[in-house]
């Protein structure tokens, strides 16, 4: 008998990554080789990797700007969506709010932007973005369509 679909739908993985860009690269490799991400379409994996990578880079650059710490990533499949949570113990978001992530104006005339794409990419691809600060922990939650 085939296993009940509940087994598949509750697939979940968790990983702890050090606040360092090479550790992020390595952590993403492990994360995407495991269920539920391993079994998803290339399109979904691509979108998920963009969002998760940007969120992790931001934590290294801002939350843990002058210190080192751990980042906990957990990814679960919830029905047809990925439910993601990323937690760290670095500095809180300014004003306890997520950055607006507005798109750049690329009118061609001015100097082209070399940064500031991260939150725009996250906001473009993720839904139900939620940020909370619980005691000394930052918690970012979002969902991604599969």
């Amino acid at each position: 008998m085939t296993p009940p679909p509940e087994n598949v739908r509750s697939s979940k993985t968790q990983i702890t990554i050090a606040s360092d860009f090479l550790a992020i690269r390595h952590g993403l490799l492990i994360l995407f080789s495991q269920e539920p991400l391993a079994g998803l379409s290339d399109d979904c994996r691509g979108r998920a990797e963009i969002v998760i990578a940007e969120a992790l880079n931001n934590i290294v650059e801002h939350a843990y700007a002058d210190e080192f710490g751990d980042i906990e990533v957990s990814i679960g499949l919830d029905g047809t969506e990925l439910a993601c949570q990323i937690a760290d113990k670095g500095r809180p978001m300014p004003d306890s709010q997520l950055p607006a992530g507005l798109p750049h104006q690329l009118d061609g005339g001015g100097d082209l932007p070399e940064g500031g794409f991260g939150w725009f990419l996250i906001r473009s691809l993720a839904k139900d973005l939620r940020y909370s600060r619980l005691e000394d922990e930052n918690r970012l939650q979002f969902r991604l369509a599969t």
Partner: protein, 111 residues
């Protein structure tokens, strides 16, 4: 991180021989590109067909490389893979760069 440069007449082709251009290698990529593009080649094409992933730091490094070859030249891109294409499309950087489906297409335009 490896970038391989080769000249074909007046076209400088740089192959990104790596899986990703991300925050861990963006500065090195930018520095290497600056060194490799100090030539008089009329056109410069960056072959990205081996690059499966870029993040916003990688994108920023490519934009920086584009600015470094200007103002009379452009950094043309070739062979963007699916996820790389997504990043360019979402940020609308696909409207700024000349992008070829493949290196062969890019080279054909030269002749």
């Amino acid at each position: 991180m490896e970038l391989l440069a080769e000249n074909f007449d007046d076209v400088l082709v740089i192959r990104a021989d790596q899986d990703r251009i991300d925050a861990a290698c963006a500065i090195r990529f930018k520095d290497l590109m600056r060194d490799l593009t100090q030539t008089s080649a009329a056109r410069i094409i960056l072959d990205m067909s081996k690059v499966a992933f870029i993040d916003s730091s990688g994108l920023g490094a490519i934009v920086a490389a584009m600015k470094a070859v200007g103002p009379d030249r452009q950094l043309e891109l070739a062979g963007l893979t699916d996820t790389v294409q997504k990043v360019f499309r979402l940020t609308r950087m696909d409207t700024i760069f000349k992008i070829h489906d493949s290196l062969a297409f890019g080279m054909a335009k030269a002749s």
